[in-house]
């Protein structure tokens, strides 16, 4: 197992390195003069030249990339142009707040999605299964920003139960802090919950039709034991892959939901960086998110290997 882990860790390093080149290339090679983009089209040539000098834009591209990369390796994420502060602490602060949001949503999606999926598969054709199937069709298709504005209209504007937008630090009291989290977390979870429960149901149905489940039942094993010892662990394999895919969708959801709820996380910071053409901040933030995504995929692969020995002992393809 340790050789497998080492190989996959090396893979993550390579992926992050390659995506850093990709991010840098897209930001720097796409048409559009960066200095003009920052200063606006009416900037004086002198101002543009000064800024280009300050940003190191006159260096060859490979040297610019090397400066950026070696800076990151030394813990320097670059300097935010708009806020004129180091990007690293800005990103870390925002990341912490996003992690609370995404982490809560992910726990809800993983536990709730699996529980609902197993329930639907073992109650196939019952009213609860039919209602869920119908709900899943609708919930998968509704964009999270639409849930977000619905939630704001209903719970904040009409009922006045919860704050519409914003964030309260935990110093303001636990209740204020939590009340700002409720709506964003629900909105983030709802579509993915439908996705995970639907695919868990499909995986469970497939497993329940298998011969080893038939065998287990034939030898008189209790239905409960058949379910939890044989069916559920095997149905978890595809579900882990789905959860990894959904983590990517969750990152997308975080960007949108933080924007709607004016929640000061990493997604909103990225949108801020795009709106203000703060390229160093944008590059650094994207690299951090990509790294997290790569680590999440690693976690999914390791979870998969832990449940499925065939993967663990396979030699490198």
């Amino acid at each position: 197992m340790s050789a497998y882990v080492a190989r996959r860790l090396l893979g993550v390093v390579l992926v992050v390195l390659a995506t850093s080149v990709l991010i840098f290339a897209i930001v720097h090679i796409l048409p559009g003069n960066v200095a003009y983009a920052i200063l606006g089209e009416y900037a004086t040539p002198a101002a543009v030249a000064t800024l280009q000098e300050r940003l190191g834009l006159n260096d060859p591209l490979w040297l610019q990339y090397w400066h950026w990369l070696s800076g990151i390796l030394h813990g320097q994420m670059g300097q935010s142009l708009v806020m004129d502060r180091p990007a690293g602490p800005l990103i870390l602060d925002a990341l912490g707040r996003s992690a609370i949001l995404a982490g809560s949503a992910f726990v809800i999606v993983a536990s709730g999605g699996i529980a609902l999926g197993v329930h639907a598969a073992t109650h196939q054709g019952h009213v609860s299964d039919r209602v869920m199937t119908l709900a899943q069709f609708v919930f998968i298709a509704v964009p999270d920003f639409f849930w977000a504005i619905l939630a704001v209209v209903v719970f904040a504007s009409w009922l006045n139960w919860l704050p519409a937008t914003g964030y309260a630090p935990s110093a303001d009291g636990l209740l204020a802090w939590a009340s700002h989290l409720v709506l964003p977390v629900i909105v983030l979870s709802i579509g993915l919950l439908a996705h995970v429960s639907r695919l868990t149901r499909a995986a469970m149905l497939e497993v329940l039709r298998s011969r080893y489940v038939l065998m287990a039942r034939a030898k008189g094993m209790s239905e409960r034991r058949v379910l939890w010892r044989h069916a559920v662990p095997n149905a978890m394999l595809p579900t882990i892959t789905i959860l990894a895919i959904d983590f990517g969708l969750l990152i997308g959801g975080v960007v949108v939901v933080e924007t709607v709820f004016a929640y000061p996380g990493l997604g909103r910071l990225l949108v801020f960086a795009i709106e203000h053409r703060d390229l160093p901040l944008l590059q650094a933030g994207m690299l951090v998110l990509t790294t997290i995504y790569a680590l999440a995929n690693l976690a999914a692969d390791l979870g998969y290997a832990a449940l499925n020995p065939r993967i663990r002992y396979r030699t490198a393809a």
């Binding site: 992926v15 390659a18 995506t19 990709l22 991010i23 897209i26 930001v27 796409l30 048409p31 559009g32 983009a37 069709f137 609708v138 998968i140 298709a141 509704v142 964009p143 999270d144 920003f145 639409f146 504005i149 619905l150 704001v152 209209v153 504007s157 990517g248 969708l249 990152i251 997308g252 960007v255 949108v256 924007t259 709607v260 990225l270 949108v271 960086a273 795009i274 709106e275 390229l279 944008l282 994207m286 998110l289 990509t290 995504y293 790569a294 995929n297």
Partner: protein
């Protein structure tokens, strides 16, 4: 999904006969397709006719609630929301289906090439796909749209690129399976060239799983396009793309919720229709999931 899900992929059934043929009723495909057709007709009508000028200001009618004259109400400039939703419909459809065409046009040839070539070309294509897939979908879109000024074409391209690696992998897997089939071996024995085998033997038989995948992906493409547009990285005002309309409605939600609800519910209707039709298409073309 792998090609083995299509045991008769090498058979004589043409795609058209499989979709239109009478292999049992398929209400999902029928209802989804009908709903999609209605929305598409509305989108086309919206290009030529709207009850009011979608960009015409009427200051005295600002934020008017839905009424007989304005079924979806008016927005902060007094513009008729129904007219704006109608003119925006073709944009959401264009982003979703246009993006799928981009992915198809790039992904399928690359995937077939990667299946056929066993040298460095194949390695380069597959590693490139791995790299693109290792970025979260929205980031790839954000990256492409962040640096240059956004417009409709770029949104279509950005969303399309996100799904290229998935189609590369799928069409390669399908083609690798087909390459082992007798009729391909026969074509090789006849001395047909690589291009001819790809175009005349592989491609016609590789379509069903690729179409199914696209049918299911369109939902996500429309969602991603609307999300990018919602973030201001799609068509720009005064366009009435639905994601953009929803974004613009946010300030007025308390006084005029119809400004966001109208385009939002239309977007949901479109997505549900596409989703249902996509599932129906899968049930029809892929017997193992029926």
């Amino acid at each position: 999904m792998d090609h083995r899900a299509f045991p008769d992929a090498a058979g004589t059934n043409t795609l058209r006969r499989r979709i239109l043929g009478s292999r049992g009723g398929n209400s999902a495909l029928l209802f989804g397709g009908l709903a999609l057709a209605v929305l598409a007709i509305a989108a086309i009508v919206g290009l030529w006719y709207t009850p009011y000028d979608p960009t015409g200001f009427a200051v005295r009618l600002r934020l008017a609630a839905p009424s007989l004259a304005h079924p979806f109400g008016t927005d902060e400039f007094g513009r008729d929301v129904l007219s704006r939703v109608l003119t925006g419909a073709h944009l959401s459809l264009a982003i979703g289906f246009g993006a799928m065409l981009v992915s198809l046009a790039l992904g399928v040839p690359l995937g077939l090439l990667a299946a056929f070539d066993r040298g460095w070309v194949s390695t380069a294509i597959m590693r490139g796909a791995d790299l693109m897939i290792s970025l979260p979908p929205i980031l790839l879109g954000l990256l492409i749209l962040a640096v240059t000024p956004p417009n409709l074409g770029k949104t279509v391209l950005a969303v399309g690129l996100v799904y290229v690696p998935i189609l590369v992998r799928l069409s390669r897997a399908v083609a690798l399976g087909l390459l082992e089939e007798d009729f391909v071996q026969a074509a090789r024995a006849r001395g047909e060239g690589a291009a001819s085998i790809l175009a005349r033997e592989i491609l016609p038989n590789a379509w069903p799983p690729i179409i199914v995948e696209c049918g299911l992906r369109v939902t996500f493409a429309i969602l991603l396009g609307a999300s990018l547009s919602f973030l201001g990285l799609g068509p720009q005002p005064p366009s009435s793309e639905w994601g953009l309309m929803i974004a613009e409605s946010r300030e007025f939600l308390a006084q005029a919720p119809w400004m966001g609800l109208a385009p939002g519910l239309c977007l949901c209707a479109l997505l549900v229709a596409v989703n249902v039709a996509g599932e129906g298409l899968r049930a029809r073309l892929d017997p193992s999931h029926a």
